[in-house]
């Protein structure tokens, strides 16, 4: 069964179907059903994935533009699989959370939900693409639904944010396009298929240039310091649901791309640029956290925490140890859940109070304990509290990085302290203290909203204590990636008979 095409096909057909439905309410329900079907199919696919089987599974390859060797080639390895799972899980949650988001303006509600489904198809496609050209197409095409979601349904400064987002990403994308074409012609294989291109570029100088073409695109997408400034604007202006998908999934394409393309296609260049990337990541971790502390707008704050977290992910990718790589991949998934929960609950708050500013809140815990409690859990996941899944990934990334790069890992660990400051200070200002007059009548979470938050919190907790199912899928893929970069983990100073571990 062509699983991946089916997933995308269902989403696209669903998107078309939504536009045909006349009634807004029916359209929402329809979208929810479609996204749940996609989720069910994804889970069914994931169950059949064998972690120790072929690297790429569920492969489909068809000629697309034979003249240039462009294929419609999709397949997943462990890394892509978990990210597709993440997308498939987040979309129904976002649909449910965005139930009333699109109604505020005068824009069509159906279009919003249709765009969501189109976006889902593209998110699946971009992670599944094994043809570099197809990846590029999805990479760029993803911008369009997100552009409209921000630009048409966002906050007061939506058009500024949307244009900034689009131009910034397009700029990176174009650099990547040049690199993709150069890769094609220099490799001289007459194909864009990723597995055929691995290892074809041997010249180190060429590798460096091509690496930069890909890397800058991914660094903007991720976003890595100093290419991050589009994110706070975009995330703060986007409706909460779109912000979740933007930060939770779309940005992961950047770090995913680094892991998949930058490392495997250009191993020597990747090693050459590792100090630079690690430096940028570490700056991003500390800098993002410090700037987050100083924010007055909670959505911007969450966006800056993501800048910090993306620093961890990029650092994990480039530390090139098994546990850092696997940790970074796991981080991508967990960060999706964690930031998703934060954005959505912040969205609920904003929907109730009508303000994004932290100063407009106070003592919410008293009037809406469930809301405050879930917000705290989401916040704790953002500061990587053990017992929540983000801890596992952050711990793995830091452990793995520390093995090879001690000083960066130490500085990055400072982010752990800063994370506590930005989350808890925000929580204190918004939820604790005497109840502000303006929030005295805030209702607590309703049933729909509880259903939005519950799965996220449950996933955070379950993977916090039992991340093995994910890691079992991720680890072989990461090991495979690292072996194609030909690096091995550093050896311990004191070898210990490994009977217990």
């Amino acid at each position: 069964m062509p699983w991946l095409s089916t997933l995308m096909g269902v989403s696209v057909l669903g998107a078309l179907g939504v536009t045909l439905v006349r009634n807004d309410k029916l359209a929402k329900q329809f979208t929810l059903v479609v996204s749940l079907i996609v989720l069910a199919l994804t889970v069914a696919m994931a169950v059949q994935f064998s972690p120790n089987g072929d690297k790429f599974q569920f492969a489909e390859t068809y000629d697309w533009i034979p003249a240039f060797g462009v294929h419609y080639g999709v397949a997943v390895d462990g890394i892509a699989l978990v990210l597709i799972l993440l997308s498939a899980i987040l979309v129904p949650i976002v649909v449910l959370a965005s139930w009333h988001d699109a109604e505020a303006g005068k824009r069509s509600v159906r279009t919003y939900f249709s765009l969501l489904l189109v976006l889902e198809a593209m998110m699946i496609g971009v992670f599944a693409a094994t043809d570099v050209f197809l990846f590029y197409v999805f990479f760029e095409a993803m911008l369009i639904p997100m552009y409209f979601m921000i630009g048409s349904y966002g906050g007061a400064q939506r058009s500024y944010a949307a244009v900034k987002f689009l131009l910034y990403s397009l700029f990176g994308g174009l650099l990547m396009l040049v690199a993709v074409i150069a890769l094609y012609s220099i490799a001289g294989k007459g194909t864009f298929m990723f597995p055929d291109l691995v290892g074809t570029i041997q010249d180190v100088t060429t590798q460096k240039w091509l690496f930069l073409g890909f890397f800058i695109a991914f660094a903007i997408k991720a976003p890595l310091w100093p290419f991050h400034t589009w994110l706070p604007d975009a995330a703060a202006q986007a409706p909460a649901g779109a912000a979740v998908l933007l930060v939770g999934v779309l940005d992961k394409v950047g770090t995913y791309g680094m892991l998949r393309f930058c490392l495997e296609l250009f191993p020597d260049a990747a090693k050459f640029f590792t100090p630079l990337v690690i430096t940028l990541s570490v700056i991003g971790i500390v800098y993002g956290a410090i700037v987050a502390i100083g924010q007055t707008d909670m959505k911007r704050l969450i966006a800056y925490t993501s800048v910090s977290h993306f620093g961890f992910i990029a650092m994990g990718v480039f530390a090139m140890t098994t546990s850092a790589g696997a940790g970074a991949t796991l981080y991508m998934v967990n960060h999706g859940f964690s930031t998703g929960a934060l954005f959505l609950i912040a969205g609920f708050l904003i929907y109730r109070r009508g303000s994004q500013f932290i100063a407009d809140y106070g003592g919410v815990q008293k009037v809406a304990p469930v809301l405050a409690g879930t917000f705290l859990v989401a916040g704790l996941s953002s500061l990587s509290l053990p017992g929540l899944s983000t801890f596992v990934s952050e711990f793995m990334v830091l452990t793995g990085t520390y093995q090879r790069y001690v000083v960066p890992a130490v500085i990055a660990t400072v982010g752990v302290i800063l994370a506590a400051i930005y989350i808890l200070w925000m929580y204190q200002r918004m939820m604790n203290g005497p109840t502000a007059e303006s929030v005295k009548s805030l209702p607590d979470l309703n049933a729909r909203e509880k259903w939005v938050v519950a799965p996220l919190v449950a996933l955070l907790l379950v993977f916090g204590f039992y991340p093995k199912p994910l890691l079992d899928v991720i680890n072989p893929a990461v090991k495979d990636t690292l072996s194609s970069v030909s690096v091995t983990d550093p050896q311990p100073a004191v070898p210990v008979a490994q009977e217990g571990q």
Partner: protein
């Protein structure tokens, strides 16, 4: 004597040791998820889970005693937590089971006490949920068989502490104190995490058995680094210098919390960590020295802070800091001190919990008044509270034959043998202890009434006094029971090792006598100043030293000046830089392109003729180019 091998175990109470953690965890989950529906029976469920956990602990203890001393380290595999990094397993050995007993027993008593103490709080259910969560996390901390699981428990107790300090979160002071506690603890965690990373980088494993068993093979530099990093973690959790500042503020939490978390159990986790990682410290003398110095510094600092506080809970908190300083000092001495450290930890758990709960009882009676200058002459009104408190007081100052006498004097003697300077400093600390604890007791229970007009003190209900009685019994007998005949040291030896020669107990050694004398002088001085003399209702300005102590030795001021203000400044600078610098660059680029195109736009004058001119000139240039190229 080296620690014994760990034997994989299944079956029996020890095999079910995970229940100790799981039961309170389930309790917490039910109470938190169940919401208002569980309001009615929430506190009972909480108590039940704590007691059940104690039962499991007691049964495990019994089973453990059934094994030969060399076989008393039992490992239980649970599941693979992070493949390649850590499995989760439990380690039931004399050290951890001692903690389990302390935590579950004192924990249960405090649960019971809280039924009465929190009776009128609308959120009592949530309180019990957090308490259960704390017990589960604390048990995970001590039962874990590797550093990752330990860290999970470590942060879990931090979370519970955060939630409980900020339990009355409508009070800004409570919310701030909670946040402060968490953040300062995070600074400690920073060190602990780095310690764990270094351990992993060195050994490629995080299991206690592998790491500690092979610690001697690592270089002493590595061990020193690990030891110091772990010490930073311990300082954070145990409120040792320089990360002590959170503990005094943490008294914003309900008093049972202060008793359980910030006196008896959680704050001693640092001592546990140091003792558990003993082989690492024993390979690193510098680290050990730093540990002892930190311990002594803190025991003096805590004692000095305790002398000046009028807030009964803060005075007790200063005393907690000081007592933990003793434990850290002992833990830094090495195997000979471990038993005293843990023994003092256990006795301290009893008498300090006893006193905190007594203080809670007093506050309960005095409309939550905490200022001792508004107490006085309470011994008649609250006899049970008074007598139990008095036992705790005598135990802590080291009154002969009470618990503190055995355990604290043991620490002083061990320290004295290790390093005379440290030993004498510890003796001085004991003297100060005698003064400030006496001051506390005299101000609260003796002297004249200085009550607020609205106060109508009364004895607390039985649900609160019974735990007090039980704890005070522990405070009387535990020290003698544990120390006499080196009973505890022998018991702990399989887990932490023991010195070649068991120290003998000298009741009338020089340091012992000196301690007693100093304590007596301190107590007498306190009687003169606060017992016999009139206590002013408003604190006198006092000398520089008093102000120094009152201001927590300027710890907060130092933190503020060194970290908070520069931090705020840095934050503002970073935000400004981000908006104007990084984003300014991006927007500047955009504006530059926009401006250039705006200027270039002017070329489109709308005059057909100027367009024609450009075409014509272009054609001319082309013709020229053609000519040039054609002639080349």
């Amino acid at each position: 004597m080296e620690p014994a091998e760990i034997i994989q175990h299944s079956g029996g109470a020890i095999g079910a040791a995970w229940l100790m953690i799981a039961l309170p965890l389930v309790g917490a989950a039910v109470l938190l998820l169940g919401g208002r529906r569980t309001d009615k029976f929430g506190h009972l469920l909480g108590v039940l889970m704590a007691v059940a956990s104690f039962v499991v602990a007691a049964l495990s203890f019994a089973q453990l005693l059934g094994f030969a001393p060399g076989e008393r380290r039992r490992g239980i595999e649970l599941y693979e937590f992070i493949p390649g990094l850590a499995k989760v397993g439990l380690l039931v050995d004399p050290l951890s089971i001692s903690f389990c007993l302390l935590i579950t027993f004192v924990g249960s008593l405090i649960h019971i006490y809280s039924i009465g103490y929190m009776a009128h709080d609308p959120n009592r259910r949530r309180f019990f949920a957090y308490l259960n969560l704390f017990v589960a996390a604390m048990l995970l901390l001590v039962l874990a068989d590797n550093y990752v699981a330990l860290f999970v428990g470590w942060e879990g107790v931090g979370l519970a502490s955060y939630l409980l300090i900020g339990f009355w979160q409508h009070k800004p002071s409570a919310a701030t104190a909670a946040k402060k506690a968490f953040i300062v603890n995070r600074v400690g965690d920073f060190g602990l995490l780095l310690g764990i990373f270094t351990i992993f980088a060195t050994f490629h494993t995080l299991a206690f058995s592998d790491v500690l068993g092979n610690a001697s093979k690592a270089s002493s530099g590595t061990l020193t680094a690990i030891g110091l990093l772990l010490l930073v973690g311990a300082c954070g959790k145990s409120a040792q210098l320089p990360l002590q500042s959170w503990l005094l503020d943490a008294m914003e939490g309900p008093t049972p919390v202060s008793a359980l978390i910030h006196a008896a159990t959680m704050v001693t986790a640092g001592v546990y960590l140091i003792v558990r990682s003993g082989p690492i410290f024993q390979g690193a003398e510098t680290a050990q020295l730093v540990v002892t110095i930190v311990g002594v510094a803190t025991l003096l600092a805590g004692a000095i802070i305790g002398t000046a506080k009028d807030d009964i809970k803060k005075a007790l908190a200063g005393s907690t800091m000081s007592q933990i300083g003793y434990m850290v000092l002992a833990a830094g001495v090495g195997p000979v001190g471990y038993a005293f450290a843990i023994a003092h930890l256990i006795t301290h758990g009893f008498f300090k919990a006893d006193m905190f709960l007594g203080a809670g009882s007093v506050m309960h009676a005095m409309n939550d008044e905490v200022d001792m200058r508004k107490y006085g002459a309470l011994r008649k009104v609250m006899p049970l509270t008074f007598w139990t408190f008095l036992i705790g007081y005598l135990a802590i100052i080291g009154f002969p034959l009470l618990s503190g006498y055995f355990t604290k004097d043991g620490i002083i003697e061990v320290a004295m043998e290790h390093n005379a300077i440290l030993g004498w400093l510890a003796v001085i600390g004991a003297g100060i202890t005698g003064f400030y604890m006496s001051r506390l007791v005299f101000m609260t229970f003796f002297g004249a009434k200085r009550w607020e007009p609205t106060a109508h003190p009364h004895e607390s209900p039985a649900v609160m006094t019974v735990p007090l009685i039980v704890l005070s019994i522990g405070a009387i007998v535990l020290g003698w029971f544990l120390i006499m005949g080196n009973r505890f040291m022998t018991f702990l030896a399989p887990a932490v090792g023991a010195p070649e020669e068991m120290p003998a107990f000298h009741p009338f050694s020089v340091p012992g006598l000196a301690t007693l004398a100093l304590v007596a002088i301190g107590a007498a001085y306190a009687w003169m100043k606060y017992g016999r003399a009139e206590v002013p209702a408003v604190a006198p300005r006092g000398s520089f030293l008093t102000t120094f102590a009152r201001r927590d030795l300027y710890g907060d001021a130092l933190n503020e000046a060194l970290f908070m203000r520069p931090g705020q400044w840095l934050t503002r600078l970073a935000v400004f830089f981000d908006n104007r610098g990084v984003d300014g660059l991006v927007n500047g680029l955009a504006a530059g392109i926009g401006g250039t195109s705006g200027r270039l736009r002017r070329v489109q004058t709308g005059f057909v003729r100027s367009y024609a001119l450009s075409i014509f000139l272009g054609a001319a240039v082309l013709a020229g180019a053609w000519l040039v190229v054609g002639n080349l």
